[in-house]
Amino acid sequence: MTLEWKHVTHALPFLLEGTLATVAVSLLALGLGLLVGIFVMLGRRSRFKALRALTVAYMSIVRGTPLFIQILIVYYALPALGLDIPRFESGVIALSLNSGAYISEMIRGGLMAIPKGQLDAAKACGMRSGLIWRRITLPQVLVLILPPLTMEFTGLLKSSALLSVIGLVELTRRAQQVIGETLRSPEVWLTTAALYFVMCFALGAVTRRLEKSAAEYRL
């Protein structure tokens, strides 16, 4: 049986529209994940043992269980808690809770990558800690976490495909809809894979560029 592409080319615009939802959900999850990551980082360094234990537990659970399960849990658990949240938001929440754990590690890595000597030099000049944070640490951390953040965004674009299972209409779900109409699953899946590939490959190139730029400043 040969592959016939003409059915799929009709559907291409429809599929491309799906990528909008894919990008939207991933972008929001990244932003929210960044906030979660910051909170988790603060929690890890907190004075309160309970808070530290909670964040460690959270990270262990998030990194030790499948994202797919986390998506299902958020989708089914939120109504049980009385919150009626639409699919898109539920997906964003699940993805950002997942990303947050990994992003907090990126932030931690970025903070550790700044040589302690630079902080010594700042203190020796009489700079107070708020100033040191604002002028020395923060600018460098932001530059350092940009490459891993773009990688995380790429990962989110791929993870968003799982949201098709809870009915969110992004690229993968649209692919399934096209298959429902045309019954040409091989062609549709190959095309869909190609669309994801283009997005992720382009982002990969961006990530590599960012890594190079970040490395230029480092001694």
Partner: protein, 265 residues
């Protein structure tokens, strides 16, 4: 430039300084005085506590016991009426630090800023200078260390010697009363050491009070008013360079000098 009192009151006084890192007793009761305009070189084998002592002077390390006095004011602590002491406010500590300039073995330039920005940073944000005034000052200091043309360069593009000279300019930017150097040339390739020592000698000639932890005997001989030899956390011997190098008194000093000069005494 000299900006301390012209009398012989010491700018820095260290009294019975002790420091423990966990179990290790790194400073065992150090007493030291540095007068205005003096150049003091601290020498000694690795692990003798010389860097720790220097870092205690500007409170980058907190001493376990004893006192450091800057112009008769305790650094880092306030003495209570009942003789007890408590940690001074962050603001006061920072103010004291700003009166001392420090140059580090690993330069520690802020890599996300240009050379000029490194120099201007503290004057603007700690000294309250305007961007304009700070910029002019930075330019003057860059000229002083011979790197005016590198003002917009990032540290990653500069050689070690250039970075260290910028670091010296940065430390001078706050018009300190005293300059502290922590092994400033130890991390440099041999051919780059000269340019940094030249700047330091120039500084010394201008009258700056300097405390330099160094291995460099040539510099110590040429510039120091006094050599302080430390070993295992104690000051073993103190003398002007001529006496120190030609007629060392203490056995440990003699052994140390023999090792680094391979000259029998």
């Amino acid at each position: 430039m000299m900006s301390g009192s012209m009398t012989s009151t010491p700018i820095i006084r260290v009294q019975n300084l002790h420091k423990w890192f966990g179990e290790a007793h790194v400073l065992k009761g150090i007493d030291l005085e540095v007068k205005a305009g003096e150049k003091v070189c601290i020498m000694g084998p690795s692990g003798s506590g010389k860097s720790t002592l220097l870092r205690c002077l500007n409170f980058l390390e907190e001493a376990s016991k004893g006192m450091v006095l800057l112009d008769d004011h305790p650094v880092g602590y306030i003495e209570e009426a009942d003789g007890k002491r408590r940690r001074d406010t962050e603001a006061n500590i920072n103010r004291m630090r700003a009166r001392m300039g420090m140059v580090f073995q690993s330069f520690n330039l802020w890599t996300h800023m240009t050379a000029a920005a490194n120099i201007m940073e503290a004057p603007i944000h700690v000294g309250g200078l305007s961007r304009q005034a700070a910029g002019e000052k930075a330019l003057k200091l860059l000229r002083l260390v011979g790197l005016e043309d590198k003002k917009d360069a990032y540290p990653a593009r500069l050689s070690g010697g250039q970075q260290q000279r910028i670091a010296i300019a940065r430390a001078l930017a706050m018009d300190p009363e005293i300059m502290l150097f922590d092994e400033p040339t130890s991390a440099l390739d041999p051919e780059l050491v000269g340019e940094v020592l030249a700047v330091m000698s120039e500084l010394a000639r201008g009258g700056m009070t300097m405390v330099v932890v160094t291995h460099d005997m040539g510099f110590a001989r040429a510039v120091a008013d006094r050599i302080v030899f430390m070993d295992h956390g104690q000051v073993v011997e103190e003398a002007p360079p001529s006496t120190f190098f030609e007629q060392p008194k203490n056995e440990r000093t003699i052994q140390f000098l023999a090792k680094i000069t391979s000259r029998p005494f």
